[in-house]
């Protein structure tokens, strides 16, 4: 039987999207040199930059397989072009300002190979904001990916997403009108029945940039929750969002929390003592 993957002659398609950021692209392609294996391909999709982007790409001509340079509408538009030109079994977007660890990448791909049923594999990593490090980690036994709400409940970062190209036929490509393309795509994928799993590998380090801030639009996330999540979750999330702005709701939520805690504190809980935060272990397993 001839399958879709028979026509995917490459293993991983690394997609780099860029526009007028030649110096960042230089660093990014240096990272790609360490990540790219002999079975992989590298696609650079440029939005017709006016700087030295072409010279930088020429410097890395030995590793760049596809170089498109033409006007585009957005970073998402460029990513979609990359996805359509890719020939790999797996797709991985590479952002210029992030650090990736090649060993973890190999572990993640090996995990993907072992589990042909997985459509999207999420990998862990670290996020840095104002010098503080936060972990993108989902503990073992979380059964992540069973419902769209999981994307809201656990730490998320698009830097760790790896897609199976074949699965795009079921999930579609990225939404150009979305404010946070990666996370909305993830919610949509889980909603459409895609199998999404978290792999406990430390794949990336993502420094928080001002560009990230525009993603945290309450209105946008509420609309995503309304479209894809259960009504119960939507109202809970709405209350959470409102509580950020209203003192009365904050007090109400605090009281509600106290009441719930009182009800839940059974003898067993008292016996077990304080709730222990999950330990971060990069053991390469699935959560």
């Amino acid at each position: 039987m001839t399958t879709f993957e028979f026509y995917s002659p490459k293993r991983v398609s690394f997609i780099v999207t860029t526009k007028n950021s030649a110096s960042e692209l230089d660093k990014c392609l240096a990272v790609c040199r360490r990540l790219k294996g002999f079975e992989d391909e590298l696609l650079v999709i440029d939005g017709a930059s006016g700087d030295k982007t072409t010279e930088v790409v020429e410097k890395y001509a030995d590793i760049v397989d596809v170089f498109v340079s033409e006007k585009d509408f957005s970073n998402t538009h460029a990513s979609n072009k990359g996805m359509l030109l890719a020939k790999g079994r797996y797709l991985k977007s590479i952002a210029p300002d992030d650090t990736y660890y090649p060993k973890a990448m190999e572990q993640a791909i090996a995990m993907f190979d072992r589990h042909p049923e997985i459509d999207i594999l999420l990998c862990g990593g670290t996020k840095e904001k104002n010098g503080k490090i936060g972990y993108v980690f989902i503990p073992s036994g979380s059964h992540y990916g069973n419902k769209p709400e999981d994307v809201f409940l656990y730490p998320r970062c698009g830097v760790g997403h790896i897609y199976r190209r074949k699965s795009l036929a079921r999930m579609g490509i990225l939404n150009l009108r979305s404010l946070n393309t990666d996370s909305e795509f993830l919610v949509h994928a889980i909603y459409s029945g895609a199998i999404v799993r978290f792999c406990r590998v430390n794949l990336f380090h993502h420094p928080f940039s001002h560009y990230d801030q525009e993603f945290y639009t309450d209105k946008f996330w509420l609309s995503v929750a309304k479209r894809y999540c259960s009504r119960r979750f939507y109202f809970k999330y709405l209350l959470f969002i409102k509580s950020r702005h209203s003192k009365i709701i904050q007090v109400f939520c605090y009281l509600l929390k106290l009441v719930r805690r009182k009800i839940k504190s059974s003898a067993i809980k008292k016996f077990l003592g304080k709730k222990v935060l999950p330990e971060i272990v990069w053991d390469g397993g699935l959560s």
């Binding site: 020429e58 030109l85 036929a169």
Partner: protein, 112 residues
Amino acid sequence: MEIKPQTFESYCTKRISYIFSTKNRAAFLEKALDNCRKFLEPEDELIVIDGASQDNTREVVKKNADIIDVFVSEPDLSGAHASNKAFLLARGRYIKPLPDDDDYIHPVPTAR
């Protein structure tokens, strides 16, 4: 080694990607492929996405192997799923899905 900036379409090595998505309709497919022969140009490609048919689809495809560039046969969720697979595999500048039970394409309008 040299790499020049290209446009998206310069990586589209074919002109038109004709797409057939089929399942257990070997007789229809055979007729449609015969019809397709009339307007298929050398710079076009023909993609057949089959949903793991149980009939003689495979034999029909084998018989027309000279015009078929891509043949995928595996279970799929729906006709739309099959078409999407073809969109991802297509290398043409234009994509034309063809229903296997229609006979509406005439060589002359396509060439125009």
